[in-house]
């Protein structure tokens, strides 16, 4: 059987990917350029027995999505710009309470209400550090419409596997782009569902990890199991504990479930890196610019390459460190005033020169700009 080939929009691919993964609940508040995700969810979820709620604001949106997830439903909320700021408190709550959830941010120009209809990649650090306190974050960034589908599926898989909120950090360029997509057949992509406790079997310690578990099986709220959820530090009963010894254990659990499994979570794409002398590090829509630039540079005999972070958080530390051993110069291209470049600099530790290229005015970088920049670097003028 041959796959269906169709013209699909990025935001539509997000919803189709979510449905493919078994998504059944959306709550949110529409905002450009993410609105199509809410619109399509509103028409499609009822058809599969799911629920769509437009809440009073973005805070209510993520809160309702968290509630639905606790009740055992694969849930998602989507937003842009100021809406992402509003969701931050509850992102920390989901991380703390270990609730699987997919948060989509179709990034637009900021700060504040900024440029509603123009693209940016300026919420990259907020994705990791936007809520207060220490918590890990998993965030993926697609460069195409088909990849938006695939990574949305993967966001759900990682959220369910690690009992944690996961972000799809896309942007206006990819969210609004319509592109030829080969639609995956059912069964073609892996689907992971959370481990839940057996209905009716009372567990006195629902947050106790059993041997072989990455995270404790989740109680489904309302099926008769003990289930207590709180944003306070809790012990294995699920009830609040003020013990610093307990807080140490629980915080390490929340961190280690992600950082002990970095090899499972982190994905990168390497393009023309084998003999590269100068490399770009990039992610999301800017990768398309970089790819075009690398092809143009290669056509002129200049050995450029690209390392694309598909998983932006946790960052691909191992791959970036290896890259710094191989090339002398790294250009971090991103649609902002300089964010991920700081993460790359931290990882590279001076092993290569790291330079930022980007801007935050909504104007997508052009391949010729990067070609010119590389030539300046080669001639020692930059």
């Amino acid at each position: 059987m041959s796959n269906k080939i169709t013209l699909m929009q990025g935001n539509e691919a997000c919803v189709q990917g979510a449905l493919y993964a078994g998504y059944r609940f959306y709550a949110g508040y529409p905002i450009t350029p993410s609105t199509e995700i809410a619109e399509l969810s509103a028409t499609e979820l009822p058809k599969v027995g799911g629920k769509f709620i437009q809440m009073e604001d973005e805070i209510g949106g993520i809160a309702a999505a968290i509630g639905a997830s606790i009740a055992g439903t694969k849930s998602m909320t989507a937003t842009s710009g100021p809406g992402f700021s509003l969701k931050q408190e509850n992102i920390g709550y989901a991380a703390m309470a270990q609730i699987p959830l997919v948060i989509v941010n179709v990034m637009r120009g900021g700060p504040s209400t900024g440029l509603p209809t123009q693209s940016a990649q300026a919420d990259i650090m907020q994705a990791k550090y936007g809520s207060h306190g220490d918590y890990p974050m998993i965030a993926l960034s697609p460069m195409s419409v088909r990849e938006t589908f695939d990574l949305t599926v993967r966001c759900f898989n990682l959220a369910e596997k690690y009992r944690t909120p996961v972000m799809l950090m896309t942007d206006e360029v990819i969210g609004h782009l319509r592109e030829r997509v080969v639609v995956p057949e059912p069964g073609e992509l892996e689907i992971i569902n959370r481990t839940t406790s057996e209905a009716g079997v009372l567990r006195p310690r629902p947050y106790e990890k059993q041997p072989g578990e990455i995270v404790p099986a989740m109680s489904v709220f309302g099926d008769g199991n003990r289930a207590h959820t709180t944003g306070l530090f809790y012990n294995e009963t699920g009830f609040p504990s003020n013990s610093t010894d307990n807080a140490k254990i629980m915080l390490e659990r929340i961190f280690n479930k992600v950082y002990d499994n970095v090899d499972d979570i982190v994905q990168v794409e390497e393009f023309e890196l084998d003999d590269a002398e100068i490399a770009f590090v990039t992610f999301g829509s800017t990768s398309r610019v970089v790819k075009a630039a690398v092809k143009a540079l290669r056509a002129e005999g200049i050995k450029a390459g690209m390392l694309r972070a598909i998983t932006i958080w946790p960052s691909p530390e191992k791959q970036i460190r290896e890259l710094a051993q191989k090339v002398d110069h790294i250009i971090v291209a991103e649609q902002n005033m300089g964010q991920y470049v700081r993460e790359v600099q931290r990882i590279v530790e001076g092993q290569a020169r790291v330079q930022h290229y980007g801007r935050g005015n909504g104007d997508l970088i052009k391949p010729q700009e990067l070609v010119a920049l590389v030539k300046e670097v080669e001639h020692g003028t930059k």
Binding site: T117, V173, L177, R178, E179, R180, S285, P367
Partner: protein, 180 residues
Amino acid sequence: MKQLELRLTGSGGQGVIMLGVILAEAAIKKGHFAIQSQSYGPEARGGASKCEVIIGSETIDYPKVQQPTLLLALTQIAADKYAQNLPQDAVLIIDDSIELINDPGTENIYRLPILVTARDVVRKELTANIVSLAAINQILGLFSKEELLEAVLQRVPKGTEILNQRAVEAGIELVQNHVG
């Protein structure tokens, strides 16, 4: 096949985005690679609207138009903004109500009565995008008339099939009757 870059401009509500979607869908149906993107202001009606379509025989990396193969401008504001510095061999299609205030950079200009044709011949102003689509296809020779009609009918609302078919015919005639 050389990569084709089309920029379709007008005012919000004129349907240039739909025009681009239909073009891209027809291209994909034919086995090409195609992408469509848009830019617009916060308004639902009025304001400037720009839709871009790139069609090629391989994966398209950079998603925006850089060297337009063709520019369509349906309003004076759109023409003032986009009908300049075009590549020498670019096709420029403008509604005949428009005065070119800038040097477009190309002499390959089709000044066509698109809006009047939609209003008086097809008898529905809203079909200006489909009239334009047929004119574009007639000039570039991308698809057969049947392929084009199939793509149009797949997208337009039910009950408007005959109207849109008339719009396609009218667009083809505009180009056939065009005296350069």
